[in-house]
């Protein structure tokens, strides 16, 4: 090989079976990239960076200077998923999202799964994302989560695992589409010889999903995207989706609720809205019901939804399904509602609420990753294998005081993927967020957002902490393993 291709020393290498031996679907891609010298690759990489900057394909980082816009770095070595693998993933994702919605309908409805002890009722009722105001309110078609992003990873054996569910406002799909466009422009030769399933139809799929759940049975209901505004970190995505769907992008101040009807303020007066694809968290959605300090939301919006005059997608209250505390119960939730075994395994998780799990966690803190259920972004967690004895002892004290607030998992050595480092190709850790749409049927966009930890050895794939993304190819055709 003309370029230097390093292979993962531990964990699953997505691109190589062993040093010098690419996995089947990667052979052509590696051959094409090997035809370029590092200088040419650098030139093309610069082109793609300029393209991202000029098109404003950015996200906003908080906590530094006000409103710093950053490009989400793009690595041009595509991640490839064979048709056979994808068929398994797709079925597993559909099953999981179906179960998520059945669980939510039940939690806000009959609460059978709570009464029968599938999930402890006191756990559900104690979660901040359980919205007791919405008990008894059933969204149209029984769908709470119209758009789900399910984070997956592959363990050291190459087995796909569900890492977490995102049932509220999962973001990143705009990068899936933009990454594909960018790769076709900058490295068109990579596609030669591959039948890659397209992703450009996602906005059309999303619009159809949203139209299906319109409360008014009209042929062309008025759909809008609700965003917190131009300072939001995902503003690019909000405007991208609105533009691609051909629907208005509104902010809270553009909307008004009168007599439980929601209208937009337009230059021709007020125009009724039927469906809002909202990208504002529950807490800020409606100051009347939720956070009264919110200036981003719309007073009366949730009441209008309860009255059945507007559909909010995703429905408020959906967040309880992706709560870390509920996650360990999901295999049982799938069995309870669907009477099926989960098609996609998840990372084995211990819940501090179960006495036997709590004992196991205390005895094995040094080997586990322990997370606070209400923690995020790496805060409030212990990574046992890399922590000192003193850190473990201090954490143990906090755990024993309230074990129910924690979950624990074995450290998963998730897979690596060949990635350009500036001088050669080296393995970097990746995950995958496929996007699932749910209304009358459940549809999965082929592929999803592959996030990559660009720093050597890092497991952090978040865009705000040095992560980047890749184009994810799902190959058309039948069978095959990567």
């Amino acid at each position: 090989m003309a370029n230097q291709w390093q292979v993962a020393q531990k964990g699953w290498d997505e691109g190589f079976v062993s040093a010098g031996t690419p996995r089947g679907p990667y052979r052509d891609v590696i051959e094409v990239l090997d035809a370029f010298d590092p200088a040419e690759i650098g030139r093309r990489e610069q082109l793609q960076r300029i393209s991202l900057v000029n098109q404003g394909i950015t996200f906003t980082v908080y906590g530094e200077e006000e409103g710093v816009e950053r490009v989400f770095p793009f690595d041009f070595v595509p991640r490839i998923i064979t048709a056979g693998e994808w068929a398994t993933l797709e079925a597993g994702l559909q099953q999981r999202v179906q179960a998520i919605n059945l669980f939510l309908v039940d939690v806000y409805g009959e609460q059978r799964c709570l009464r029968e002890g599938i999930v402890p009722w006191e756990l559900v009722f104690s979660r901040p994302d359980f919205r007791r105001e919405l008990v008894g309110v059933l969204p149209r078609l029984g769908v709470f989560t119209h758009v789900a992003g399910i984070d997956l990873l592959r363990d050291e054996h190459g087995e796909w695992l569900v890492l977490e569910d995102n049932c509220r406002c999962p973001s990143g799909v705009s990068y899936v589409l933009e990454n594909r466009g960018l790769l076709t422009r900058v490295f068109p030769g990579l596609f030669r010889g591959h039948a890659v399933r397209p992703v450009d139809h996602y906005p059309q799929m999303l619009l159809e999903t949203l139209r299906h759940v319109s409360p008014r049975g009209r042929e062309r209901p008025v759909v809008a995207v609700l965003s917190p505004g131009a300072n939001n970190s995902a503003w690019f995505e909000h405007s991208f989706l609105a533009r691609e769907m051909g629907v208005p992008l509104v902010e809270g101040r553009d909307l008004i609720v009168e007599d439980d009807q929601v209208s937009m303020r337009t230059i021709a007066g007020r125009q009724r809205v039927d469906v809002l694809y909202r990208r504002i968290d529950d807490a800020f959605l409606d100051p009347v019901i939720f956070n009264s300090d919110s200036v981003l939301g719309v007073p009366g919006l949730v009441h209008a939804a309860i009255a059945g005059n507007i559909t909010l997608a995703n429905a408020p209250g959906a967040g309880v399904a992706d709560d870390k505390a509920v996650y360990p119960f999901f295999p049982d939730i799938i069995r309870f509602f669907l009477d099926e075994e989960p098609l996609l395994p998840q990372v084995p998780t211990f819940s501090g609420r179960r006495p036997e799990d709590a004992r196991f966690i205390v005895d094995n803190l040094a080997d586990l990753v322990v997370k606070r259920c209400d923690g995020a972004g790496g805060y409030g967690m212990l990574v046992g294998p890399t922590s000192t004895t003193a850190e473990i002892a201090a954490f143990k004290e906090g755990f024993e005081a309230a074990p129910g607030d924690f979950i624990a998992q074995h450290l998963v050595e998730f897979s690596s993927h060949p990635t350009w480092t500036g001088s050669g190709f080296a393995p970097r850790h990746v995950d995958l967020r496929p996007f699932v749409l749910c209304s009358e049927s459940i549809r999965v966009l082929p592929g999803g957002l592959t996030r990559v930890a660009l720093k050597e050895g890092s497991y952090v794939v978040n865009s705000s902490q040095g992560g980047g993304s890749k184009d994810t190819w799902v190959l058309a055709g039948s069978g095959g393993d990567a």
């Binding site: 098109q55 404003g56 405007s239 533009r243 208005p248 553009d254 021709a268």
Partner: protein, 312 residues
Amino acid sequence: MLARAAENMYWMGRYLERSAGLCRKLEVARNLAVEVGGLDPASTLRFVHGMSSLYPGSSEVVCTGQVHETLDAMLSSYLLGHGNDLSVAVSLRAARENARAVRDYLSREVFESINSAWLDLAASIESGRDADLVLPEVQQRVFGIGGAMGRTMLRDESWAFVDLGSMLERMHRVLLVVAYRLPDALGDGPLAIPVQVALLRGVLRSGASLENYRRVQGVELDPASISAFLLLDRHAPHSVAYGLRVMEDAMDLLGATEGESEARRRTGLLSARLRYGAPETFDWRMEGRACIEIADEIVSIHESLSRQYFAV
């Protein structure tokens, strides 16, 4: 169309037009300083420093009495100055922020051209590049934005608001050019012919109308003809009459009738006043005062538009 989006489109149009106008006037000042700064420093200086009267409310630039020093200060303030609310840097950034707020209404080409123009200018400011080198680059980029808009944007309501914003900005500055720059160009006493020609050409070029004027009026640079051309010619894209016509068309597209819309009524009245009420022979000195009145009326039209469309 959302009222907020309409306002963003309107201001995007205004800020882009302001950026283009500022670049043009700075370029005129720079060329004039080179051309006749040595021959008649006092007149040149008056013309160069007179920029602030075309952009009232902008930061004051001290006139040092030296043509090139003052020009450098003007370039620094009006092209790159973050502290000057009416600089190209501030206007282009504001245009970009408005564009970003309504990028779902813009073609990819339009947003990309605005975004990259601003990013390049910001990089030039950051690296401390010479304003003299930056000016032609920015001017070209801003001109390119107009091309991208003209070729790719839908002629719908959003376009109407861009038209309203850009024409209002353009007319306002042209009126101030006639009111202030034309008297500056003529001076109080007799000027050497080459100087006067250069200054009058500068007036027309400030209003992007030198070549168009020549085609219509010939080579003779008569102040009355110049002011009449800049105010009344219905085919010159930078004249007030043309701007009013575009605004009337835009408001017609928006369905604004004279009976219902104050902005439409005011625009119609102003248009009729220019079309039918203008004297056959122009006294440019009298016209200066009238221009200030019309500029004030333009501000009133802006306020009417805001009340009608943006404060829904």
